[in-house]
């Protein structure tokens, strides 16, 4: 799939952009804080319904304006589609082919996107939250139906935490039956979230090892395991382990006013040739691992959807060395992705000749 036209209005520092695109490589150069990442963010929101940054809705709207608009025309498997996102201070509304979107599933099935940010290179060493985000993004793009499950899981967790918090702050006595009613929702959707993550990981594994062997990062084997965030008492039933874990952590949860066990606490562990990557892999090896994960993500989507996804590269080359960048670019060429890439222009990226090159300064886009 590829973007044919992108229109933005009052999005962050961008007042107005209306640009047609016909090539596979779209380079956006500019100095820092001129709007490069904002433009990529708009594309990302139109593809996933969400931003990759923590933001309030009002942050998206240019100062002194009521709303901002993202309109994306795409071609996928020879069919043209249009995505309209309207961001207001209190709500976000998305239309796909002029019909209001009721579940993100539809958007995720239509828009296949992989994004790569400098922060991603911290995936192995960084916080578990970053790794959960990564595997959840994969699960969402591999199985668009999971969008409603993830949403229901988050809702269940918030509801349960709100009961615990009101009790902890002594605003309400604890209604054990009420807590139990929401526990069951948490268990139901949490088990599904866990399963989606496991399945997504299995899909990734098929390719990651291959890339790591190719990069000479491992000689022998790669192991990636999913820490479930729940002590597994019963290997046959995640649900019953989860139920038991919730019962056992009941007291501590009440004291802390939040839920301390569950898939919201899970993590990914990487083992390269039997050594834990987080502590033992060099920075170079860790970066290769991240690159391999990203390439695997691209491959799985291509395999599942039957066409190459859209790729966003936000200033990645500033952090990735020449060899790895070249490898990445070659893989992109082989897959035939449309790629939107931002750069400060300080390094020569060796981008294929067939490209659009835009400059963005103070939110204004100009084709060079």
């Amino acid at each position: 799939m590829y973007i044919e036209r992108l229109q933005l209005k009052n999005f962050r520092n961008i007042e107005s952009i209306n640009t047609a695109v016909e090539k596979s490589w779209v380079v956006i150069s500019g100095n820092n804080a001129q709007g490069k990442t904002n433009l990529l963010e708009a594309l990302y929101i139109a593809s996933t319904g969400q931003s990759f940054r923590k933001s309030l809705l009002s942050d998206f709207i240019k100062d002194n304006h009521e709303n901002s608009i993202i309109r994306c025309q795409i071609i996928k498997q020879n069919v043209r589609h249009q995505i309209d996102v309207q961001l207001q201070k209190t709500k976000r509304s998305i239309r796909v082919d002029d019909k209001p979107l009721r579940s993100l599933t539809k958007l995720l099935s239509l828009m296949n996107i992989v994004a790569f940010f400098p922060d991603d290179l911290m995936l192995v060493k960084g916080s578990p939250e970053g790794r959960r985000k990564f595997i959840d993004r994969c699960a969402l793009s591999f199985y668009p139906d999971s969008a409603d499950i993830f949403k229901a899981f988050r809702r269940s967790l918030k509801e349960r935490n709100s009961i615990l918090r009101k009790y902890q702050r002594q605003e309400q006595k604890l209604d054990v039956q009420l807590l139990k009613a929401f526990d069951e929702q948490l268990i139901k959707y949490g088990a599904k979230v866990h399963q989606y993550r496991k399945d997504a990981l299995d899909e990734l594994k098929k390719y990651v090892e291959h890339y790591l062997l190719e990069f000479n990062v491992i000689k022998d084997s790669l192991e990636i395991s999913l820490e479930p965030g729940v002590p597994i008492h019963d290997i046959n039933s995640f649900q019953s382990s989860y139920r038991r874990a919730l019962a056992e952590s009941m007291q501590i949860d009440q004291i802390r006013g939040l839920t301390t066990v569950g898939p919201q606490r899970s993590d990914l562990l990487f083992n390269l040739d039997g050594k834990e990557a987080k502590s033992f892999a060099s920075q170079g090896q860790q970066r290769s691992l991240v690159l391999a994960l990203k390439l695997a993500e691209l491959k799985v989507i291509e395999e599942k959807v039957g066409c190459a996804p859209l790729l966003i590269l936000d200033d990645v080359s500033s952090e990735l060395d020449q060899t790895r960048t070249e490898y990445l670019f070659k893989a992109i060429e082989d897959l035939g992705c449309q790629v939107w890439i931002s750069t400060t222009g300080s390094v020569d990226l060796k981008i294929p000749k067939e490209n659009h090159h835009f400059n963005i300064t103070n939110g204004a886009l100009k084709e060079l």
């Binding site: 918030k158 009101k166 209604d175 039956q177 959707y189």
Partner: protein, 206 residues
């Protein structure tokens, strides 16, 4: 200072759920235009204003089932042919109307006017669940069908209700909803809804 009546109308309309500023403006101009023209909508503004006042003055909750009605008891509760032994608990009036349209259900209803949602401050008291328990205890109810939506809050409400009703030794059932049938009752067609009702499942407390 007197407020601009056009702007005021737009602001009032925008207070309605699902109506953004743009739709509000469109509706406002439509009302203004048609009210000044001839034709079938000539009295739209006046008719609309009267309807709104009537609704506010005359509509209240049925003393028995909490349905909306204009008398003490709604037409369903007053109908002696309805099966007094089954009670169907719904979240909202539109859900009840959808069930009525399907024609499969002949019992009585109970409208909760919401579901449990601790995050939004809706607990058992807000839903007046005590009143529902009194109803099932004192009337000849044998089965309670819980027809809240099949989402997080709807399912939690069903479980909670089942645990409250358990001591009364009634049959407690749940509509067979959710994937692939669809999780929101209001949007189901009559055939699917009938099926969800006929295939309802007994709730067993875990």
């Amino acid at each position: 200072m007197k407020l601009d009546p056009i702007a005021t109308l737009q602001l009032q309309l925008a207070r309605l759920p699902g109506i953004g500023p743009r739709s509000a403006a469109r509706l406002a101009f439509y009302i203004i235009k048609t009210s000044q023209a001839q034709g079938k909508n000539a009295n739209l503004a006046e008719d609309l204003a009267q309807s709104l006042l009537d609704v506010q003055k005359e509509v209240r909750l049925c003393r028995e089932c909490q349905n909306l009605c204009t008398e003490e008891y709604c037409s369903i509760c007053r109908d002696p042919r309805r099966d007094q032994s089954t009670l169907c608990v719904v979240e909202a009036v539109p859900d009840m109307q959808a069930l009525e349209k399907s024609g499969t259900f002949r019992g009585l209803y109970h409208v909760l006017h919401g579901v449990l949602a601790p995050l939004e401050g809706v607990g058992p008291e807000e839903l007046k669940l005590e009143y529902l328990l009194d109803r099932t205890k004192n009337k000849s109810v044998e089965e309670v069908i819980i027809a809240t939506n099949a989402n997080v809050d709807g399912d939690a409400t069903a479980l909670y209700l089942a645990s409250l009703l358990e001591p009364q030794e009634l049959r407690i059932t749940r509509l067979a909803m959710g994937v692939p049938l669809g999780s929101e009752l209001e949007y189901l067609d009559s055939a699917t809804l009938s099926r969800a009702l006929l295939e309802r499942k007994d709730m067993v407390n875990t």
